[in-house]
Amino acid sequence: MTTTSPGEERVAKRAPGLRRAGRELLRNPPAVFGAVVLTVFVLVALFAPLIAPHNPRQQNLGDRFTPPVWDKAGDARYLLGTDQLGRDILSRLVYGSRVALAVGVFGTGLALLIGVTLGLCAGYFGGRVDAIVTRITEVIISIPSSILYITILGVFGPSLWLLILVMGLFGWITSARVVRGEVLSLRNREYVEASIGLGQRTAQVLIKHVLPNVLGSIIVVGTLKVASMIILEASLSFLGFGVQPPAVTWGQMLSDGRRFITSSWWLATLPGLAISLLTLSLLFLGNWLRDNFDPRTYD
């Protein structure tokens, strides 16, 4: 979905320096928005204890259901209001970003590790290896993802680490497919054949010569994957199969807030806004990366 024509444009865009990338970024308002919002979320997650005005688990039963500060009944101590137990919504949102980003980043990391390895092998060796990877892929995509995840999390008992593990174990399909496709076209390039001819071991050829050329696509797939994992984590936590209390998660805040939807709109609205903003920033960035540096990848 590039806006420029392929060919020379594409060659010209090769080997972009960081400064070049920065200049490109500034020309794309959604990508700028994405970069800024994502940076803010990452900083908030890293420095949560310094930013959160209250302890996210501190209950103040006298201040239950305080609306956000711009409401007539608002309270300046609670900028975004409080929940059914009088806990500060802003502080909970701040701490919730930690779980969202941790699941997104670690889950994606594991998924990429598996997907890139399998994709490299499937594309490079072809034949039986490729057939096996294809079969495994078909099994995983045939089971509706939320049913697969909830079955495993429900059976073994949900926890943060199991969630990350499961997301990694079953979330690698796209990356494997993309990498496999790229490797198929790289395998017969002269420089790959040359390094094989020079007697380099297979692992060396794959890691030194093939992998660096697939890196662009991996970054694009990874960025978009973080977004989808954050949504998945939120929906699993919403249904009660994600990260469990006392950890604070956006999905769980939403699920609590839903019970009070008729009286306290902010409880369910604000966590959803946080999820949407974070995933939107990742999608904008990922799409921009794809359009500018890797027009070959698509999902």
């Binding site: 806006t3 079969r135 495994i136 079955t151 073994f156 939120a234 919403f238 949407s276």
Partner: protein, 312 residues
Amino acid sequence: MFGYVLRRLLQVIPTILGITLLLFVVVRFSGDPLAIYLGDDDMVVGQVGSDQVEALRARLGLDQPLPLQYVYFLRDALHGDFGRSFIYQNQPALPLVVRRLPATAALGGAALLIGILISLPAGLIAARFRNRFPDTFASFYAVVGEAIPNFWLGIMLILLFSVNLRLLPVSGSGTWRHLILPAFTLGTGMSALLMRLLRGNLIEVMSLDYIRTARAKGLSARSVLFKHGLRNAAISYITVLGLSVPGLLSGSVVTESIFAWPGMGLLFITAINGRDMAVVQAIVVFTAFLAILGNLVVDLVYVVVDPRITYR
């Protein structure tokens, strides 16, 4: 053609083996299946005399080596026997699941319809006015539609249309008015995905030589877009509709539980919360079966529709 169909059917076998194996491993490694059978309570196993427990273990084949147990599991699954539900009065699990299919199918169908009704015009307009305002807007919609989690969208729709405007029921089923909000909840994400795909395909098709020929003949822009562009871009659009089955089923889990829509997704959540493993297993296999079926139908339709594809 016959050979192709047969080979395509044979390819399904390893997939089904893989799905049942994965399910078997997950369920077996999660605890003593006997405890699950007896009502998921270690107390019960302790209370029943150990002779009786062992007799039951032998009767269920649970004293056999694991590979053999898997073979029994597979045999029963192929016969549609997943055991009995202990939440729903000891009924056989699979019929219980199949009975929920119409509700889920109605929701999925309505969501798909909404997805098409939004994505078709939006994709066409975006491709027609490429890089101009309508396109920018449609592309923005596609990204936002992907970024907003559908369960939050569902709750916001309830807040707007049920709580504030009092136009539609909050949850439940029975009339077509109950279907509107859940269908939009499930269909919006779908429409974003379909729109992006259609736009991409149209743009690709519209840059091909025969489109230039059609334009050179003096055909109007609209006629070129509809008669030559859309017809050819439609093939992959239709493909994705068929491949959307697992996504719709996956999304129906959360959508149905928000709106108390009595389909398979709601049954699944009830079953897993009650550790009703017979029902859970039946749902996993049955939904995977539907997904495989959707995929298969698409592949066959593809061959019939697109004359360029030859089946060897």
